[in-house]
């Protein structure tokens, strides 16, 4: 399974390297979200600092929708679902590989967004470990959900519009827990943020397990 996962992840990252969609489109889009929301909400630095955790996760969520849509779209052309089915690749390995590649792209976006909120919103990260842990756990969930619902919508003509409809409700807990954890990482709220990271980790485990178990059946039906 791990060998297959590495092959699929390498293929997806190579696809991204060749097409540059994440770097040239998704990443600038995520930064734009930060800037535009700042205009829309208020230019007051104190307000921007307060809403920075939530805006960070909203930008990550919107980027996830684009990246997951792209990750699904590349598998839908030229009979590729049949190719994957007949490849002999372990479906769990395909899921892990695709989710891993998606997670890697999202982490790059999150790194850029981190610079963005520090520069534009004047945020200071007081607990970097908590911040990074929340990012990692949240990213694993987002990538798993995006990959899982991506294959569910793979064979559908309404794929582009259906995917956000499926993903957004499923990752709402990530937005909530991620925002709470980052509020504490930015020292905006007292109390430990690790319980929220724990919640993010539990959600991540649930979705990774669901993906490993269900991806093969969903690919068959796509």
């Amino acid at each position: 399974m791990l060998r297959d996962a590495c092959a699929v992840a390498a293929k997806d990252l190579r696809l991204e390297w060749r097409s540059k969609v994440a770097v040239n489109q998704i990443l600038p889009f995520a930064v734009l979200v930060l800037v535009v929301f700042a205009f829309a909400v208020d230019a007051d630095a104190a307000i921007l600092r307060r809403i920075a955790p939530g805006l960070f996760w909203v930008a990550v969520l919107l980027s996830t929708l684009l990246a997951a849509g792209r990750s699904t779209a590349v598998e839908s052309a030229d009979g590729l679902p049949d190719g994957l089915r007949l490849s002999g690749l372990d479906p769990a390995g395909i899921f892990l590989g695709k989710a891993g590649a998606l997670a890697a792209q999202l982490l790059v976006v999150e790194a850029a967004l981190t610079i963005g909120i520090v520069v534009f919103y004047d945020v200071r990260i007081d607990d970097p470990l908590l911040y990074v842990a929340a990012c990692l756990a949240g990213t694993i969930t987002l990538a798993s959900v995006g990959t899982l619902y991506g294959v569910l919508s793979l064979g559908l003509r309404v794929r582009e519009t259906l995917l956000p409809l499926l993903v957004v409700p499923a990752v709402a807990p990530v937005l909530l827990a991620g925002t709470r954890a980052h509020e504490r990482a930015f020292d905006q709220v007292t109390g430990s943020g690790w319980s929220w990271v724990g919640l993010l980790a539990v959600i991540a485990v649930v979705y990774v397990a669901a993906g490993l178990a269900a991806y093969g059946s969903l690919l068959e039906e796509a």
């Binding site: 297959d4 092959a7 390498a10 293929k11 190579r14 696809l15 060749r18 097409s19 590349v74 052309a77 030229d78 009979g79 590729l80 049949d82 190719g83 089915r85 007949l86 490849s87 002999g88 690749l89 093969g216 068959e220």
Partner: protein, 221 residues
Amino acid sequence: MATVVELRQAVVLLGRFPALSGADLDVDEGEIVLVHGPNGAGKTTLLRTLAGLHRLTSGSGSVLGVDLGTARRALRGAIGLLGHRTHLYDDLTVLDNARFWAASAGVDELAARRALERVEVEPRLADVPVERLSAGQRRRVALAVLVARRPRLWLLDEPHAGLDAAGRDLLDGLLRDAVVAGATVVLSSHELDRARALATRSVLVSGGVVTPVGPGAPGAA
């Protein structure tokens, strides 16, 4: 000789449409079987059913000893299917595609490169994205993937389509070599003269029913 394909009264419904309506087919190891018939007769459905991509609605069948009713997923990896689509990633280069699909069968890059040479893909195309290739070149790359993966059963739907004369001769040679190496081939084609010269026998598909034709078939003179 071992039986590779065995279908008995196979019915496949696509929605409510009976794409196969009680098909019977036996293919032995080492055979090249031509499947022909009019458009919409069920040839593609037959090949996809043998690949395990369609469920049998009723009837029974096995491919390479795997029951199509209960265990069709176990076939994956042993089948090479080339249909109207080539299963290639547009944004990846020729070599990237060959390498990925070869790796998915546990085959290394050297074998992928040799397969590209075998199907006479020009070396200068190795680093060209597949989206820039002509239809014929894409088809050659798809054939290279099959050559690298060395499936036990080749299922080819109109394999000559899109290939130039040299490519068609090359394909015929590839299939003869594959059979010598122990593979079995089932192909559909509308180029009957060429395909008949290649095939060891033919079957006619019409209305979702498979009928043997030619010398040796029941009722043949």
